[in-house]
Amino acid sequence: MENLTRNFICILCPNSCEITASFNNDGILRNIDGFSCQKGAEYVQQEIYNPRRNIATSVKVTGGELPLVSVRLTKAIPKEKIFEVMTEIKKVTLQAPVSLGDVIISNVLGLGADVIATKDVPRI
């Protein structure tokens, strides 16, 4: 009987742990090995069944010290939704001032994550 394995690099912290997941013949996860904290094990589980990512990008601002405000999501979204969320973010234009932590889009596409500003953009 053959052991099926898949290797992962945990992206949650700079340790970048190399984690190996092994499956039995029916594709059922049997073992996870190589993580140095519980988060790593959780990450691999998630990566197998429902990979998620955060994204960081920018939103247009008018009348501000900067033409853009940087934004990120409050929590990771399913990987395959990244470009759909980008499309939503690109639609928004804000009026300065914008403050760090401002919710730009709440519950984007119903995914349970908010798009928030990550810097202040004062009015000129």
Binding site: S58, V59, K60, L68, K90, T93
Partner: protein
């Protein structure tokens, strides 16, 4: 589509150092003058891409125009630099040798130089070499005290700006496509030029097109000039290397080569150049650097200057010599400056390679003389030979710096950290008298982005200032040449 038609007394083709010098010298007289240039700034080809050396004139055969004009151009340059407000240093120069054969050649060079009228030439030994250039190797050398260094961009820009001040019009992005000679009876000859942008009519045509001067001549029906492009590559070293070299150091030249050999030149700004190589190529505008030549520069340069360190490299570039001799013929052909009977009032300057930078003003005066032989030139009463450059904040004493910031706070904002270039200087460069709007135009006028970080800190700021001051959108910002757009658009519209 209607085309603009513009009439002038004199049309100068090419805004290299020769075209700009001709424009400046002719602007002393009551003439309506235009300079047509295919690039977006002056000095974009051979004139700006060289060692920046004001040659003394000992490398050229006695009796040639090269020898005559080079010596003349060199000796008069203190006054020129003063009039045009450009940095210039008579550093002197050494040509170093190692063997008895080298020594013989150095004595021959010295004798040749003396016949050309170069003052002060001297054969020196190791001790004097160590004194002049402590880090340069060599058993003996020919020392030329009058050789100097200058910034070839700034010199060309200064000539053009002075010409502009005195009424000359500059048209960039105007590549000449066709020339038509209208020779009517009882009428003076008249040339009609079609460029990529407009039509120009002029009584006089001065062909200063450098690498393309043979093409321009062919458009006039003269087909016996052939330019052979010969590329020379350079490395630019950090100013830290400048501490090791204060005087140009050349090897003994190989007369077959048609170049002066790979040498080391301090720049007026304190960097060091290694180069140029000498390689005949097909295309006249292929300024690519090649791995093969870069390796050669390192090897040859290290022969006379063993202190070349990899970490000193900040950039490389290439220039192309407009040679009138092919690779097989080798060596140099003399400058051609002539008016052919079949094309009256058209003066062709062909094969103006090194020492063209040094000879530019004497060549320009020759053009004036040739024009003056045909028609009476009336001096302009208000001709002003003085041009003012952009004041360099970095070089001012502390008190003057304080004063400048008080007068204009933009002197207190450093845009280019490596070269200490202020916002005031950048703004002056953006609003230059020639109307040049490229990023490289700002760079060549101020030295911003020329330092060790190569614009890593300031390029974004300068691009932004160009957009602000000139009301441009990102896709309209040009790096150096037409089609060289810096950006594709906005991230968010």
């Amino acid at each position: 589509m209607t085309r603009d038609v513009r009439s002038y007394d004199v049309l100068i083709i090419g805004a290299g150092v020769v075209g700009c010098a001709v424009a400046r010298e002719l602007s002393r007289y009551n003439l309506k003058i235009a300079v047509l240039e295919k690039e977006l700034d002056v000095g974009m080809e051979t004139s700006g891409r060289n060692s920046g050396v004001l040659h003394a004139g000992f490398n050229n055969k006695p009796g040639t125009l090269m020898a005559k004009y080079c010596v003349e151009g060199c000796l008069e340059f203190d006054q020129v630099a003063k009039e045009l407000d450009i940095p210039f240093k008579r550093t002197g120069k050494i040509v170093v040798g190692f063997t008895e054969d080298d020594k013989k050649k150095l004595y021959q060079l010295k004798e040749q130089g003396e016949r050309n009228g170069v003052p002060g030439l001297e054969i020196i030994g190791r001790e004097k070499i160590k004194e002049l250039a402590p880090y340069v190797d060599g058993e003996f050398a020919l020392y030329s005290p009058v050789t100097g260094i200058l910034n070839p961009f700034i010199y060309t820009i200064a000539l053009a700006e002075n010409a502009r001040q005195n009424g000359v019009d500059f048209y960039f992005a105007n590549e000449v496509l066709a020339i038509c000679l209208a020779n009517q009876e009882n009428q003076p000859a008249c040339y009609q030029l079609t460029t990529t942008k407009a039509t120009y009519i002029g009584r006089w045509l001065i062909n200063c097109a450098g690498l393309n001067s043979d093409k321009i001549a062919r458009m006039m029906g003269i087909d016996d000039y052939t330019i052979y492009p010969c590329r020379g590559e350079y490395f630019i070293l950090d100013k830290k290397a400048g501490d090791y070299l204060k005087i140009p150091a050349y090897p003994v030249p190989n007369p077959k080569e048609g170049g002066l050999g790979i040498h080391l030149t301090p720049t007026i700004d304190g960097n060091v150049l290694i180069g140029p190589s000498s390689e005949y190529i097909e295309e006249r505008d292929n300024y690519a650097a090649t791995q093969k030549i870069m390796d050669l520069l390192l090897k040859d340069g290290s022969r006379i200057f063993p202190y070349i360190r990899r970490e000193f490299f900040i950039r490389n570039f290439a220039g192309i010599r407009p040679k009138l001799v092919s690779e097989e013929q080798g060596g140099y052909a003399d400058f051609v400056i002539e008016e052919r009977t079949e094309t009256p009032q058209a003066i062709n300057l062909i094969g103006i390679e090194s020492p063209g930078l040094t000879s530019a003003l004497p060549l320009a005066r020759k053009v004036v003389e040739m024009v003056g032989e045909k028609e009476h030139l009336k001096e302009k009463a208000d001709f002003n030979p003085y041009r003012q450059g952009i004041l360099c904040f970095r070089e001012q004493p502390l008190e003057k710096k304080k004063e400048l910031i008080e007068q204009d706070p933009n002197y207190g904002e450093i845009i280019c950290r490596c070269e200490t270039i202020t916002k005031a200087e950048i703004l002056q460069a953006i609003h230059n008298p020639l109307g040049v709007e490229t990023l490289v135009g700002v760079k060549n006028r101020t030295r911003a982005m020329m330092g060790r970080c190569q614009g890593g800190y300031c390029q974004t700021r300068i691009a932004e200032l160009i957009m602000q001051e000139k009301g441009k959108e990102p896709p309209e910002v040009i790096y150096a040449r037409q089609g060289g757009n810096m950006f594709t658009g906005r991230v968010r519209d």
